[in-house]
């Protein structure tokens, strides 16, 4: 890979005395789906939040570069304006904000109806609805994914996009992620489900805040399924991870 879109080197993050990320190095190329696999609590979401610039996730060491520019000191919204966005594992609820308005944030020319169709939601049913607790978690995840499509970002951080999605709809999510890639968006695809990793161009597995293996998605997914972690066999925890 030449000139990666996202380049992470030696990233370390500690919070409340716990090391959440330990010497993470990772590169994601333009128009590439890079799957990040790993069990619950292994640091996948922390890494995504650190790249996005979320509050409390500024790295203690290392650097994050986007299109060659160092971004780890930029505030979140400025990273967004460079073309990075994120879909959260548990999407936020917004009382009084209709789906239509949410889908045009930062992108008023986007056609919200078309975006909804692409994630399998009927526009007539959802455009006027509020993005609050009247929508299920799965519905909000799809709306958030539709918002990512509307933004046409250069890099999308998708945190567990299939969580809360029924099995029948999983293929739609896979199709959307592939369409994002085909439209030129690089995707850092976070999942604890190895079948999501299979749609990636490359994959990495995390455990205990570290990337323990990277390579082809088939190789990483197989290893994840068979061994969970090549070093600890799933028993390594954050607290026991050596400094």
């Amino acid at each position: 890979m030449t000139d990666p879109l996202l380049q992470i080197r030696g990233l370390r993050l500690e919070r409340a005395g716990r090391r959440l990320l330990d010497d993470i190095s990772l590169a994601v190329g333009a128009g590439e789906i890079h799957a990040l696999l790993g069990g619950n609590g292994c640091g996948k979401t922390s890494l995504a939040k650190s790249v996005m610039g979320c509050d409390g996730y500024a790295p203690d060491r290392g650097e994050i570069r986007f299109v060659g520019q160092r971004i780890d000191t930029l505030p979140l919204h400025e990273r967004a304006r460079l073309g990075i966005t994120m879909a959260w594992q548990e999407p936020a609820r917004f009382e009084g904000v209709p789906v239509r308005e949410f889908l045009t944030l930062g992108h008023p020319e986007a056609d919200p109806a078309e975006r909804l169709r692409r994630v399998g939601l009927a526009p007539w049913r959802y455009l006027g609805r509020m993005l609050d607790k009247t929508l299920s978690g799965g519905e909000r995840k799809r709306v958030e994914l539709a918002a990512v499509i509307a933004l046409a970002p250069r890099l999308a951080l998708l945190d567990e996009p299939a969580a809360g999605i029924d099995l029948r709809s999983l293929d739609e999510i896979v199709r959307v992620v592939r369409e994002l890639r085909d439209a030129g968006t690089a995707v850092l695809l976070i999942s604890h489900r190895e079948e999501m990793g299979r749609i990636a161009d490359r994959a990495s597995q995390m455990c205990g805040g570290r990337i323990i293996v990277s390579g082809s998605p088939q190789h990483v997914a197989a290893q994840y399924r068979e061994h969970h972690c090549v070093y600890c066999d799933g028993e390594l925890t954050h607290d026991t991870q050596p400094a």
Partner: protein, 325 residues
């Protein structure tokens, strides 16, 4: 049907305030739409429709308004009740008596227009009766001036009859709230329903005191108190919500959210009283800053922190009636 001769100047000022909240002159000219337009203690325009009777009379200190909806009447168009002060200084005292007949259904749009006020007060004393199986929806929107020189003290005693439904939604649409002290008490009979919602933003030195009290007195009565307050600068708010479950299968819930910024102060005092072992009343309250995940989600769309906070607050305070379809 009666029409009072309009006072051009006052009428024009109040109409201008109505325009700002999307109520055009056509709504008040429509023969099929009942309305009342009051400036201080003077009725500028009154219009009835079949099934709705609006009567106004002067009192020694104030104005009294009676609204009667005939039993069984299904009123298609909302009834516009406009109370305003066209002058910057003054006081308005309103006694409102509402009687919704059995099985009737009606929607009131109450417009409280104080856009020009600099030092004024609006006092409302309401007695509302929603009789058996009737339905009343009240959407009360306030338009205040930028100076905050208004004291608003609405008090309502409401009776919701068996199987009847009451929906009340109070919103500050524009301007500074000034000083607001509301006091609503609702008694709900068997299988009746009462929902009270208040959405207010306080700025500068505004003071807000909300008192909502629902008594679920009948079997299967239901009640909801929903309060949304956003405070900035040095504004202060106290939200006191009480729900009593006094009968079997009564269900009540209170839901209070206050967003507080700068040196503002918010307080929530929920009171739950249950007098029947088969009744259930719950409450939730959240006071603090805007949720971080909400902000970060919006900023990931390129909004600045200030734009994100404004969107969260404006969404939270958006009146149900104005939510886009």
């Amino acid at each position: 049907m009666t029409r009072s001769p309009p006072d051009g100047s006052a009428l024009a000022r109040l109409q201008s305030a109505l325009d700002r909240v999307g109520v055009t002159d056509a709504a008040l000219q429509d023969a099929d739409t009942a309305h009342l337009l009051v400036d201080a203690h003077r009725a500028l325009s009154v219009h009835d429709v079949p099934g709705v009777e609006v009567q106004v009379r002067r009192r020694l200190l104030g104005i009294a308004v009676d609204v009667r909806v005939q039993p069984g009447a299904q009123i298609a168009n909302p009834v516009h009740l406009c109370f305003g002060l066209s002058n910057p200084f003054g006081a308005q005292r309103v006694r409102l008596d509402v009687d919704i007949g059995e099985g009737a259904s009606v929607r009131f749009l109450a417009h409280c227009l104080f856009a020009r006020t600099r030092h004024a007060s609006h006092r409302m004393r309401a007695r509302i009766q929603v009789r058996r199986d009737a339905q009343l929806s009240i959407e009360e929107g306030h338009v205040h001036g930028a100076a905050g020189g208004i004291v608003v003290t609405p008090r309502a005693r409401i009776s919701v009859g068996p199987g009847a439904r009451l929906f009340s939604d109070f919103s500050l649409l524009q301007g500074r709230v000034g000083r607001l002290r509301s006091d609503y008490r609702v008694d709900v009979a068997e299988q009746g329903l009462a929902e009270l919602a208040v959405r207010v933003r306080g700025r500068a030195e505004d003071r807000i005191e909300l008192n909502d009290h629902i008594r679920l007195n009948g079997i299967g009565a239901r009640g909801l108190v929903k309060t949304r307050v956003a405070l900035t600068d040095r504004a202060q708010a106290v939200v006191r919500s009480t729900t009593e479950g006094n009968a079997a299968d009564a269900r009540g819930h209170m839901d209070c959210t206050e967003i507080v910024k700068d040196q503002a102060q918010g307080e929530s005092v929920p009171v739950v009283r249950v007098g029947d072992p088969k009744a259930q009343v719950t409450h939730e309250a959240a006071i603090g800053t805007v949720d971080q995940t909400q902000l970060e989600t919006l900023m990931a769309h390129g909004l600045t922190p200030d734009q994100a906070i404004e969107l969260v607050i404006s969404g939270m305070l958006r009146p149900a009636a104005t939510e886009p379809a």
